[in-house]
């Protein structure tokens, strides 16, 4: 039996408290109204962030200054407006460049300036108000999906009757214990979006939909009641499978009755069929629909690969932690070797899907789908390509070596990089649509991960204390204990 160490308990509580502080700070510091945004924009116009744009626009701006001075419009405002003209061309790609530029540079159309400026401020306000919500949502979703990835891995091990993994079943079962609290939190955030507490999903806003023919065409699928019902169905299906197999797994231990083994085998096969469909739809609903104008057919698989590899990494990290504290004497190097091989293989699989999605859209360059990547490359350049390095190049070069796959500190290091990389992956999927170019990884983002990470640790290590760490009733457990590669 595992007993919860006070170290883990304290760590998780500290993480949760710090995380809450970070999240609270994020909400507190978000601008409340357009005046706050004006201040931020004014400060920004002098900042280095827009330096290039500002200097580029300096000549026309100073020419304009004389004409607009008596109308008490500051240069700062003019600068901000012109930036907006450039930004909106880049970000929205909806108006021809020439048209916008003409508007921006035309001193006589000052009315248009004022309107456009107000619109821009409003736009930035929405983005900045979305930022703490977006950070919260990404953290909640990422940590929840890790436990879902572990659940999928667990189901595959049952259905494949894998001989090596039953020794790790209790660790996997403990990680999937987070599905219930994590699922509830994600669902609550979705409900809050549905009742317009936040604006994470633009298609939930009736005013937007009224003017948007594309979203109107999708409203048969993208409407709040159906969206929440679907979310409830996925969560119910996943949690049902988790509690059913866990119950059978414990019963198998206590009775040694192999009918429980068969039940779990059948349940896992059925679950995998359900999971395949529900996971794909979950990815459309919870992630792809933040960009309701954009669609990608392999998106579900792409999201799956991302959280599947994170889940396997977390299995490896928690198993390593327990092993190094002397709790898993029946787990040997070969188990770690296998987990590290999965980390390596699924990392490459993720890259394959990432690249396939990217390259197909880059190659054909169709405006309605390529804006997705244009936005990310222009405004999220470092996180967008940085995650490819973290999720592909790093594990590729580290975990390709057979000997390295057996060294605990190398697995740990690779695992931490993979987890950070896949957090960035989820960040890149959601933030460009909700926060746009005003993104920043600060207190709210880190706090959110810390809070949900702390909660995850607490739930998982608590669940570990609920059952013996060796699933002794499993008919494959002897093989697994003596697994050797």
């Amino acid at each position: 039996m595992y007993t919860l160490s006070s170290k883990i308990k304290n760590l998780s509580i500290v993480l949760m408290v710090l995380g809450l502080l970070g999240i609270g700070y994020g909400f507190f510091s978000a601008p409340k109204n357009t005046e706050d945004v004006e201040k931020i924009l004014a400060a920004d116009a002098h900042g280095s962030h827009h330096g290039a744009v500002a200097s580029h626009e300096a000549a026309p701006a100073s020419a304009e200054k004389n004409e607009t001075h008596h109308e008490s419009v500051t240069v700062k405002d003019t600068l901000a407006t012109q930036e907006h003209a450039v930004d909106s061309v880049i970000a929205h790609a909806e108006a021809p460049v020439a048209d916008h530029a003409k508007k921006a540079h035309d001193a006589t159309s000052h009315e248009a300036h004022a309107d456009e400026h107000a619109e821009h401020v409003e736009h930035v306000l929405h983005q900045l108000q979305n930022k703490p919500w977006s950070a919260l949502y990404i953290g909640a979703l990422f940590v929840f999906l890790i436990s879902l990835g572990v659940l999928a891995f667990y189901a595959i091990q049952w259905a494949a009757q894998a001989g090596w993994s039953p020794a790790l079943f209790r660790v996997m079962e403990a990680i999937t214990a987070y599905l219930v609290p994590g699922g509830i939190i994600v669902f609550v955030i979705l409900v809050l979006s549905g009742v317009h507490i936040n604006h994470l999903f633009v298609w939930m806003d009736p005013e937007v939909v009224a003017e948007d023919h594309l979203i109107q065409g999708k409203s048969g699928y993208l409407n709040v009641p159906f969206f929440l019902i679907r979310a409830a169905v996925y969560l119910a299906g996943w949690i049902l499978y988790r509690s059913y197999t866990r119950k059978n797994s414990i019963a198998l231990d206590n009775t040694g009755d192999l009918s429980f083994y068969k039940k779990n085998f059948k349940a896992s096969a059925a679950f995998l069929a359900f999971f395949l469909v529900s996971e794909s739809m979950m990815a459309w609903d919870w992630i792809m629909s933040v960009d309701p104008h954009w669609f990608s057919t392999l998106f579900g698989w792409y999201v799956f690969a991302s959280f599947f590899v994170s889940g396997i990494t977390v299995i490896a990290l928690i198993t390593l932690h327990l092993k190094s504290n002397g709790y898993l004497e029946f787990v040997n190097n070969s188990h770690f070797h296998d987990l590290a091989k999965f980390m390596f293989g699924i990392s490459v699989f993720w890259t394959y899907l990432w690249f396939s999605q990217f390259m197909l859209m880059w190659y054909s360059n169709i405006p309605e789908e390529v804006t997705y990547f244009k936005m990310r490359i222009e405004h999220f350049n470092l996180p967008f390509f940085g995650m490819v390095v973290m999720n592909f190049v790093f594990p590729l070069l580290i975990l390709i070596n057979t000997d390295f796959k057996r060294v605990p500190w190398i697995i740990t290091m690779a695992g931490i990089v993979i987890l950070c990389g896949h957090y960035l992956d989820f960040y890149n999927m959601i933030t460009p649509a909700t926060v746009g170019e005003n993104w920043f990884i600060g207190a709210a983002e880190i706090g959110s991960v810390a809070f949900f990470g702390g909660l995850f640790l607490f739930v998982v290590f608590n669940a570990l204390t609920k059952a013996p760490l060796l699933a002794k009733g499993n008919p494959l457990i002897e093989e697994s204990k003596h697994f050797h590669y």
Binding site: F355, F358, M359, W362, Y363, T402
Partner: protein, 174 residues
Amino acid sequence: MSNKVIHALYNDDDVLMDAVKATRKAHHHIEEVYTPFPVHGLDKAMGLAPTRIAICAFLYGLTGLTFATWLLNNIMISDWPQDIGGKPSFSYLQNMPAFVPVMFEETVFFAAHLMVITFYMRSKLWPFKKAENPDVRTTDDHFLMEVSVNNNEDELTSFLQSTGAVEVKVVEKH
């Protein structure tokens, strides 16, 4: 000097493994073991050094990647940077996604083929090579351990017989 070896034949891989371990423990030098199929763990029992072919393959893969990069850069960017369907051919990086499939395949191609050729060369395998099989039964259902003799023929023979060999014979090797 006579070059004598002893051929000990076994008909079970478990017996062979035990015999190999016992022979090594008794400090007799095993020249070679012939088996009809791979016996798991035999290389470890014999104390053979691990293969380095995977390292070769990695380096060959890097060669292939370099070759593909050079090839595509030379053709598509340096030599004749045409505008083909609006693809940006100003620098390699700008058009790189289009080259990745080729870069990948060249990497795999070089790694795989050069590794196989390395394997053939290192194990001295080629068409019309004369087979080096000491006993035809070793390709079917017998296992043969070849142990070198150093003026201890009688002792070695009785030792090998005690390891469960179904047949032990002294052979003059040229």
